[in-house]
Amino acid sequence: MARFVAKHLVFLLLTLFVVSFLVFALNEFSPGAVARKELGAYATQEQVDLLTRQLGLDRPLPVRYAEYLGKAATGDLGYSARFKLPVKDVIWKHLGNTALLAALAFACIVPLSMLLGIAAGMRESSRLDRAILLFSTVVASIPEFALGVFLASIFVVWLGWLPGTATLVAGGGWSVATQLVLPVAVIVLFDSGYVISMIRASMIEVMQRPYIRTAVLKGMPFRDVILRHAVRNAMITPITVIMLQINYLVAGVVVVETVFAYPGFGRMMLEAALFKDIALVEAGALVAVFVAVATNILGDLAYMILDPRIRA
């Protein structure tokens, strides 16, 4: 177990290293880029050159990258040109907001997709299975922005039950809680479609195993066969898939955040990229990759805990 964790931590560091270098090189390869961004389009070339020299940006790329890494290690990630705040503060604030959204969505996705996935997979090709398969295929096929538009046109425009934006500032007679309903609903629908199909496939496979047949033949009630024998085994494979959804929930919800004007991490990255806020893009990419690889490792660990056969 310790060896496993150590090996994966090395991979995590390697990935962070490679990605940070690539993003750094992409943004700062041409020495004038940062100074040009700082000074704006109307600065003369002399001014740009002067600032480039003052900031030490005319030094070779590896030197600057080493300096960047050194600063990042002490917690200094630079200053955000877009938000006029230290990058660290900007990232923490938006990451917190996204974590709230992601936690709520995750708390709905797991039970919902387990329930539907198991119900569909326990009797393959039954009417219930076909219905759930159709449902999961359709909701996973509709892009998040389209789901957002569909749900908003029903619940905001037509029925008027919910607010159309989720700025996390109570206003216009809508509380923060009501603002969260639609963004969470969109994420849950889009994401659970995929998770349902994974759990269903795993469940179908388990239901064909000999120990299930034995349990049925010895006269065990079908409910107990499902709950005691099938479910535990059927959840082993999808647990990694479920853990991988955290990655999507943190970094991939940029669309939902944009639809509902939610002040989250993904939208922050979009704004930073469009504004060419280099310091924020670099730090944000690192955070996103860290979350991705860390959840990957957690998924593998959960897998090992659930399935003793691969623990060796």
Binding site: I142, M269, A273
Partner: protein, 298 residues
């Protein structure tokens, strides 16, 4: 974006090798009719292909022409069957023309990713040792990166064009296909016909492309359908985020971006392109579900 149903795809056993390929292919196409999801999927895809191909005939107006008179009442009318957008452009015309870029870019990127992924996967699975290690690790790194953020960084840096979108989609999707092909290759390289080809003195490239690859086509085909659907979603998402195909030419995602702010007044402007893109992706995913069913029945 969610990753594809890799584990499920892998469970489809590669169909047995056959010499009568052409007849097999035809029989395979005809068998699509045996699965209801596949039939519905194919019909939806054919519908949009026809719309894209016939766009010049179907579209009643030029896609970028504004009808200023219609701006007062942009809702569906006799002159504009689906209504107009916020600039008075006919939605039906934009919808028809907008089907073209999606139906070209998404499959093109899938072909690119499949070709690159097959090469990487075959090389890693057939040669093993250090090639395998390096390629697998490189793929892991690309896959660990949240793709949307990668697209944002790359496309805002290099600018967005159809070719750039095909490029990033190819590069980010190839590792997934490489992983699938590698898994299949590890299994197939132990078969007798591979050993026979080695005895005949065939080159490694020949064995990979002629002996192994054709036998991996079943799972790959299902995956290509899924991947086309995902690519259509991503192209829409990029358009919606404002980093997709450049305006003013119609692009479904971009159409939603321009008009979803006016949802409370004119919801049809955003609903129409949303319905179009959703139905097209549903078509590809239903086809994938159907193909997987047919594959499992063998």
């Amino acid at each position: 974006m969610s990753a594809p149903a890799t584990a499920e795809v892998l469970s489809v056993s590669p169909p047995a090798m056959s010499r009568r390929r052409a007849r097999d292919l035809w029989r395979g196409v005809a068998r699509v009719g045996e699965s209801r999801p596949a039939t519905v999927g194919v019909l939806i895809i054919l519908f949009w292909l026809a719309v894209a191909a016939l766009a010049p005939l179907l579209a009643p107006y030029p896609p970028n022409a504004s009808d200023l008179a219609a701006l007062a009442h942009p809702t569906p009318s006799r002159a504009h069957w689906l209504g107009t957008d916020h600039l008075g452009r006919d939605l039906l015309s934009r919808l028809a023309w907008g089907a073209r870029p999606v139906l070209v870019i998404a499959p093109l990127a899938v072909l690119g990713a499949t070709a690159l992924g097959c090469l990487l996967g075959l090389a890693a699975g057939y040669h093993r040792r250090w090639i395998d290690l390096v390629l697998t690790r490189a793929c892991d790194i690309v896959l660990s990166f949240p793709v949307i953020i990668l697209y944002m960084i790359i496309l805002t840096h290099f600018g967005s064009s159809a070719w750039n979108i095909v490029g990033v989609l190819t590069l980010t999707k190839a590792p997934i296909i490489a992983r699938i092909v590698r898994g299949l290759t590890l299994e197939l390289r132990e078969r007798e016909y591979v050993a026979a080809a080695k005895m005949r003195g065939e080159s490694a490239l020949y064995i990979m492309l002629v002996e192994i690859l054709p036998n991996a086509r079943g799972p790959l085909l299902v995956d290509m359908c899924l991947r086309t659907g995902y690519n259509i979603i991503i192209i829409g998402v990029l358009g919606f985020l404002g980093i997709g195909l450049p305006p003013p030419d119609p692009d479904w995602g971009g159409m939603v971006k321009d008009t979803y702010g006016m949802m409370s007044v004119w919801p049809h402007m955003a609903l129409v392109p949303c319905a179009a893109i959703s139905s097209l992706v549903i078509g590809f995913n239903l086809l994938a579900v159907g193909l997987r069913e047919l594959g499992l029945r063998d």
